[in-house]
C-alpha cells in the first residue's frame, strides 16, 4: 500500500537524478504535489515532464546559500506558504584520498550536502510554524555516517553531520508537531557509483558483502522516504532509518 500524500506539497532537492528523482516520482504517485529542485536543468525538465500537471521544476545550485533561500521563497510563492514535506536528497560525492582531499572538494561537498539541507530546513520549519502545518522533513543520510568509504572523507563527514542535523532539528521542531527524520541508504545504484558499476568484478565483490546480496534501486529508498514523509510514522522523529540490505550489520 502506498502512503497517502494526497494534497500535500513537497519540496524535493536533487530531483533530477538518483534517489531524489525516485523520491519525487514516488511522492507524486502517492498523491503529493512536488517542487523539484536541481542544478541539472535538463534532468529536471525530464522529471517534471514525467510528473506532469501539478508539479514544478526549479533550477538552483544549492552550493550557494542565496539559492537555498530562493528555493524556499519560490516554493512559498508557488504554494501560498503551504509546505508539508521537504526531502533533502541533493548531494555530491568527490573521491579523493583524505591526505590529498582538496579544500575546494571539502567546501563544495559540505556546502551542498550539509549547509543546503540546514538552510532549507531552517526556512521550511519556520514556514511550517508560521502556517501551523505539522509537516515532515526527510533527510537523505548514508550508512557512511557510521562506516567510512575510502576516499570519501568530505562526503562521509557531511553524512555524519546529517545524522546530528536531523536529530537537532527534530528535537527543536517536535513541540510544533513537525517531524524530522533521515533515511540512511547503503549501496544504491545511482549516478554516484555509475563508474564503479562498470567494473563488474569489483562491484560484485562489494555486493557479496551485503547480506541481501544486492544493491538497492533508488525506488526502494524512495519508498522509505515516502513512509517517513507521510503521517504513518507520526510518533517517529529524530530517527535515522537504515536501509542497507544488512550491509552494516557486520
Amino acid at each position: 500500500m502506498s502512503a497517502d500524500l494526497a494534497g500535500k506539497n513537497a519540496i524535493v532537492t536533487g530531483a533530477a537524478s538518483g534517489i531524489g528523482r525516485a523520491a519525487a516520482l514516488r511522492l507524486a504517485a502517492d498523491g503529493a504535489n512536488t517542487f523539484c529542485v536541481d542544478r541539472d536543468e535538463e534532468g529536471l525538465a525530464q522529471v517534471v515532464g514525467i510528473l506532469g500537471e501539478g508539479h514544478t521544476g526549479f533550477a538552483a545550485d544549492l552550493g550557494l546559500a542565496s539559492s537555498c533561500r530562493e528555493v524556499v521563497a519560490a516554493s512559498r510563492r508557488h504554494w501560498h506558504d503551504r509546505i508539508h514535506i521537504l526531502v533533502n536528497a541533493a548531494a555530491i560525492l568527490i573521491r579523493e584520498p583524505t591526505l590529498q582531499h582538496s579544500r575546494a572538494a571539502w567546501n563544495l561537498t559540505l556546502d551542498i550536502n550539509l549547509k543546503a539541507p540546514f538552510l532549507i530546513s531552517q526556512e521550511v520549519v519556520a514556514t511550517m510554524i508560521e502556517t501551523g502545518i505539522r509537516g515532515s522533513i526527510v533527510n537523505v543520510g548514508s550508512v557512511e555516517a557510521v562506516l567510512p568509504g575510502r576516499g570519501h572523507v568530505a562526503y562521509t563527514a557531511s553524512k555524519g553531520a546529517i545524522t546530528m542535523l536531523t536529530r537537532s532539528a527534530a528535537f527543536e521542531a517536535a513541540p510544533h508537531g513537525i517531524r524530522v527524520n533521515a533515511v540512511a541508504p547503503g549501496v544504491v545504484a545511482t549516478g554516484m557509483n555509475a563508474d564503479l558499476r562498470e567494473d563488474p568484478e569489483s562491484w560484485s565483490e562489494m555486493l557479496a558483502g551485503i547480506p541481501m546480496g544486492r544493491h538497492a534501486e533508488p525506488e526502494e529508498i524512495a519508498a522509505v522516504i515516502a513512509f517517513l514523509a507521510s503521517d504513518e510514522p507520526s510518533f517517529v522523529t529524530g530517527e535515522i532509518l537504515t536501509s542497507d540490505g544488512g550491509w552494516t550489520l557486520h
Binding site: 528535537f171 541508504p185 551485503i210 541481501m212 526502494e220 517517529v236 550489520l249
Partner: protein, 244 residues
Amino acid sequence: MGGRQVAIVTGAGQGIGKGIARTLAERGYDLVITSRTERDLDGTRQSVEEAGGAATIVVADLKDPGTASRLVESALTRFGRVDGLVNNAAVNIFAPFLDQTDSNLDEMIETNLTAPFFLCQAVANHWIEKGLPGAIVNISSAEDTIAYPEQVPYASSKGGLLSMTKVLALEWGPLGIRVNAVSPGSIDTEMTPEVYRRQASRLMPIGRLGKPEEIGSCVHFLLSDDAAFVTGTSLYADGGYMLQ
C-alpha cells in the same frame, strides 16, 4: 501480491499488540492472534473483524515449548499461508536490581527473548522449506538502547532481542527473509501508569504519549515491500524521547 496477507501477532490481547493487529487488519492482513487470556483475544478479534480482517485465536503461554509450532500451524491450517511474524508479547516486572528474583528473571527472559527466538525459528523453518520470502518484526523497546532504573531483566531481554534481530537479518538476508525491530518509547495503553500520562507534555518532545496504532503503522511498513531493502534495523518510535 494478490489477496490478503497473513501475520502472527503475539501478545495481541491488549495494548500495543491489539493496536498492531487492528492496523494490520485495516491494511489487508488476516491474523493469528495469541495471548494467555481468551477474553482479551475476543476483543482483539472483534476489532480485527471490524477492520475487515479475519482472526484466528490461539490461547497459549509463549513459555510453553509447543506454542511456536502451534502458531505457525494455526496460520497454515486456517489461512494456508503466513507472510509475517510480529513478536510483541512482553513482560516487565519493576524492582531494584538486588530485589529481582529468579522467577522474575525467568518470566521476562523466557517471554521477551526465548519465545521470539523459537517463533523466529518455527516460522523461518516453514519459509525456508518452501523457498518463500518472509518478514519478521520484533517489538523491542527504547530500553534496548537507553537505561531506566529498576528494569534490569526487561532491558536485558530487549537488548538481547535487538541483537537477535541483527544476527537473524544477517543469516537470512540471502534467503529473502527480512528481520527488523520497532523500538517504542512510551505508548498509551491499558497498562500505562497515570503518572506517565500526566508527565507526557513535559517529558516527551512531541508533547504526548504514542498510540498503539502508531506502532502498528511502523510494523506495517517494515512488513511491507516498501521496506524491501530494510533488514537488521530498528525503527525507534519514541516521540523524540531519545533526543534528550
